[in-house]
Amino acid sequence: MMTAEQYEQSLRLLNFEVYMFGKRVENVVDDPIIRPSMNAVAKTYEMAQRPEYEDIMTATSHITGKRINRFTHIHQNVGDLVKKSKMGRLMGRATGCCFQRCVGMDALNALSIVTFDIDKKHGTQYNQRFIKYLTFVQENDLTCDGAMTDPKGNRALAPHQQADPDLFLHVVEERADGVVVRGAKAHQTGAVNSHEIIVMPTIAMRAEDKDYAISFALPSDAKGILYIMGRQSCDTRKLESGNLDRGNALFGGHEALVVFDDVFVPWERIFMFKEYEFAGSLVENFASYHRQSYACKVGVGDVLIGAAQTAAEYNGAERASHVKDKIIEMNHLNETLYCGCISCASEGHKEPSGTYVVDKLLANVHKQNVTRFPYEIARLAQDIAGGLMVTMPAEDDFTSPATGKWLNKYYAGNCDVPTMNRMRILRLIENLTLGTAAVGYLTESMHGAGSPQAQRIMISRLANMGEKKRAAQKLSGIEDA
């Protein structure tokens, strides 16, 4: 396994083509806007090395028998699935943001299932290829970007119907040694902190879309791949001196649009090629794992609840009954989320490939809750924090001789607490509910791993209505129930 330092060094060896604010980023690792997101991924390496976390953060490879980072592991039993949920909470709490590494783990696990299933039907060799690739990922402790979401253009149209055929990533050329692909993947979490990019189709497909039914993995700096960084609310605060106004002094996340400008993919890195009838299964398996992965929001919720309680204490309001009740409600919502990610893991089962997968109904219910509860937790945190979290002057005003004395005087709360500590906790609440971390805690909770309607479709498909009707009819005395 790599240490955090080795991980950072390994990124320096990559030759990314990254753009931000209209310019090419020459030094990605040290860029002040990107670096906090690198720190968050580095934490997944650091914590795996520490005895007090290794039981969750590491696993035994079913291929090599070696100790590996759990983010590269294929779940071998229900216990692995449960530990994955626990790891999400642990990491979310340690970083207070999106630590980006779950999406690659979910792509690996989904491919371990679907490559096996394709081979069974078509007599192909994808699973063998995939296992070779997985071994490479595990042996080198790599971070993988799980790239599913295409730009999609007109949402009412299938891939082959789009005015611009590149709005879904597709094959444009077949060669003896591989294929050439063109297109893009949007909203890619941790893209420029990743060694590898694993591409999957976005939606279930029909025969007309078979050129779009492709899955493969490439080094993230492969020729023709370029990255355009997404902005986050308050991102340029990272360029300012001091760290108060960042809210989270250490960590952050990032997303990028990844463009595939006629990129060559060798056959040995291709895990699905035109088997369009398996695109839906890959999406469904990936989405189920990834909906479980929103266990991380419970950990971020822990941070926000801790911040709200601290703010209440700094304000001298912690004994008010309504404040206590709001903290209870925040915990209730957060632990309800935890119930979902633990239960879908506990009810997991073994697929023919040997990989364990979560209970898909419960994973969708969990993610549906995630699209709502963090918003309510954030609302309650803002209620408890008071308006100062959005009207507070800049750190420089606190240190300025002209204004510092007034701010320290008038923004004091509980007099036992330094005013700056009160400001720090309020800035953290701002960061999580309105700033850079709200990307992960709120909008990613809404759309990441699929927008709410995607889960509702799955819930309607998976809920066993026949059994419910039978139970009701039997108890009501209907004869032939």
Binding site: E52, Y53, D55, M57, D302
Partner: protein, 106 residues
């Protein structure tokens, strides 16, 4: 019967997803209070007298499959830690008085 030196105790932690208490602080207390009576090493070390498993909560979910046949003592909170300390001190005292060391899992 083991020789009269300090016990070699392998430390194993659960993963700490939502610990009820500060596991590291409790281990530090155990180490300080047992200084001279025990040395604490990684749980994958050789020649251990026992494994001390530090769980963050009553779920006690640490993976112990690697420790088949070893003597294991679990703590899941500061109270358990006190009992562990008392037990080790008692047994070590018994040992110096000629009794054998019979640490067992609680």
């Amino acid at each position: 019967m083991r020789d009269a030196g300090p016990l070699r105790i392998g430390l194993k932690y659960c993963g700490g997803c939502k610990p009820d208490y500060d596991r590291l602080a409790v281990v530090q207390t155990i180490e300080e209070r047992l200084r001279g009576a025990a040395v604490f090493v990684r749980s994958d070390s050789r020649d251990l007298d026992l494994i001390l498993v530090v769980h963050g909560c009553p779920t006690v979910c640490a993976d112990l499959s690697a420790f088949g046949g070893s003597t294991i003592w679990s703590v899941a909170g500061p109270g358990d830690a006190e009992r562990f300390i008392a037990h080790v001190l008692d047994r070590m005292q018994g040992h110096t008085q000629g009794r054998t060391c019979d640490l067992q899992e609680s």
